[in-house]
Symmetry: C2
């Protein structure tokens, strides 16, 4: 398997990405190859400074960079030689099986939708966060920012996408889906949550638990928590803020340590015909490493194929009127 | 000043409310009186068990209780002898100047809107949470659940109400208002946040800082954070969940201690013609005490009069087309 990394992406690139690439190479099995997308000379120089052998990496020359502040669509189209555009070119050709970047996440989304394409039937791709359960294991929260104005049918699909991600990548048996709300009762919440509940109730496509509240984020009521991208992003950034405060104040333990975003490093863009991961702009080498290793696991689990199959069933169910 | 407490309200009533009443009486100045609403015999018995002199309290006999699960409007109308309905009766007559309950918050809202009434010009009353800043001081978050589907003009008023609460009750000079969003830039967020931003920009009614994110909840960028009741409730319950986890795990310090909801005990219902506070169902004696003492401070600050005056200016500004 060949997995790609955008060396130029992220606030700390290329130092953090090169350091991350070296860490990745130490953990990748012999048959796998890491493919670096970026300026060839820069990469060679950075590897040389670290006494690393450039032959250990495949390097695809991409002299341009899409900056963090650039308008995504325009930049993606106007810079075919950028590390992000090159990555998608290789992904589309099948020369790599996964592509990760801590750079301009908007441009990564543009590449995902226009170059790799949505899986047929998926209304809107989405992104996820991994939240540690206090006891053990994880909860998958989605969406976390890609769809700030999600509609009920889109939220319904998040539940399906999240369930498949949990099942095939994190080996969660029969994942339970909760709808994030401000009360447990069916009629609680805003209109979006109320309508989404009605769609999810009796779903044949996933195991619906019912409403959960933000106080349930860290317990084991459910495995997948579905919300709109606005609320999900607020929840995620609040966890990150609290983690950083606790770290700074020395108030950590085994559970708090598991809140560190570096442990997973990035989120797949769920619902597209390939494996694409986006990382935090502030990613360090450890985060970069874990993002790329996660991309390999997701590709190996054939997640996008699994989603494609499930979407076929979902469309069948809809046709037969079994559901919304 | 006479301040009222619903003795029958809350998961731990009447034990927690009676214990709280005793704590309140120790801290209330001589000229102030605590008025207890509830079953006279029950109150007398509870006080006797604690060797307290019933003459120290004013007791208003209210033999009925509105349960936590009762439909608020129906219960309020059908139980004029309940502690909540009696409290509002006294509040309306002017026999008490503030009324607090940890009971059915829906019934407290019904009483506020139908018995005490909205301040003229206020579209929707709202509720608040006090969040500790890491350095020192507090941030006021609103709404936290009363308006899950708030509209931009309602959110605009939250900013005004929150500013006045911060200024007159917490002595925050010239409070800065932030709009909770998922990015700092003007165009970020869902449609609600984007539209609200446009209304708040250049507001003559409060000091608008711009967008803030949930990572800014605990820092000193702003004093007032405005959001819809859905998002605000999610944020609040997440703070509470994290606080409980940290407490359980022994990961506390001076800052974490300040997250304890007991420190303020309750939230005023902002935007009505009197001082009404609602507390957490799980309130203990300390929370009850602090809620009632806060109600006294709010009444003494003449907050609802201050809001009435500001609303007049706001309506004037609107008429003159200075704003939205």
């Amino acid at each position: 398997m060949r997995v790609g990394l955008d060396v130029m992406g992220g606030d700390n690139a290329p130092q953090a990405t090169i350091d991350g690439a070296i860490l990745i190479n130490k953990e990748l099995p012999k048959n796998d190859r890491l493919v670096l997308f970026g300026d060839r000379d820069l990469i060679a120089e950075e590897l040389k400074q670290r006494d690393e052998n450039p032959d250990e990496f495949d390097i695809v020359h991409a002299p341009k960079v899409i900056g963090m502040g650039e308008q995504p669509t325009r930049a993606f189209v106007q810079k075919p030689d950028s590390s992000i555009a090159k990555g998608f070119e290789y992904l589309k050709k099948g020369d790599i099986e996964a592509f990760s970047s801590a750079g301009n996440s908007g441009a990564m989304m543009v590449g995902s939708i226009y170059s790799v394409n949505n899986i047929q039937g998926v209304i809107r791709p989405c992104t996820t966060a991994i939240i540690p359960k206090e006891k053990e294991g994880i909860t998958i929260l989605l969406d976390v920012g890609t769809n700030p104005d999600a509609k009920p049918d889109v939220m319904y699909q998040f539940a399906l996408l999240g369930s498949l991600y949990g099942k095939h990548v994190f080996n969660i048996k029969d994942p339970k889906v909760g709808l994030l709300n401000i009360g447990e009762e069916e009629k609680k919440g805003n209109l979006l949550a109320q309508s989404t509940y009605q769609l999810m109730k009796d779903s044949p496509d996933f195991k619906f638990y019912g409403n959960v509240e933000s106080r349930d984020l860290f317990n084991d009521k459910v495995d997948i928590i579905v919300t709109d991208g606005f609320t999900g992003n607020v929840v995620l950034k609040q966890i990150e803020a609290m983690y950083r405060i606790l770290l700074k104040r020395g108030l950590t333990d085994e559970f708090i340590d598991r809140m560190n975003y570096e442990n997973f490093g990035g989120t797949p863009i769920l619902g597209i015909n390939s494996t694409v991961l986006v990382g935090h702009g502030i990613s360090n080498d450890k985060a970069i490493k874990n993002m790329v290793l996660l991309s390999k696991e997701i590709a190996e689990a054939h997640l996008s194929q699994k989603i494609t199959e499930a979407l076929n069933t979902y469309v069948e169910n809809k046709k037969q009127g079994n559901n919304n």
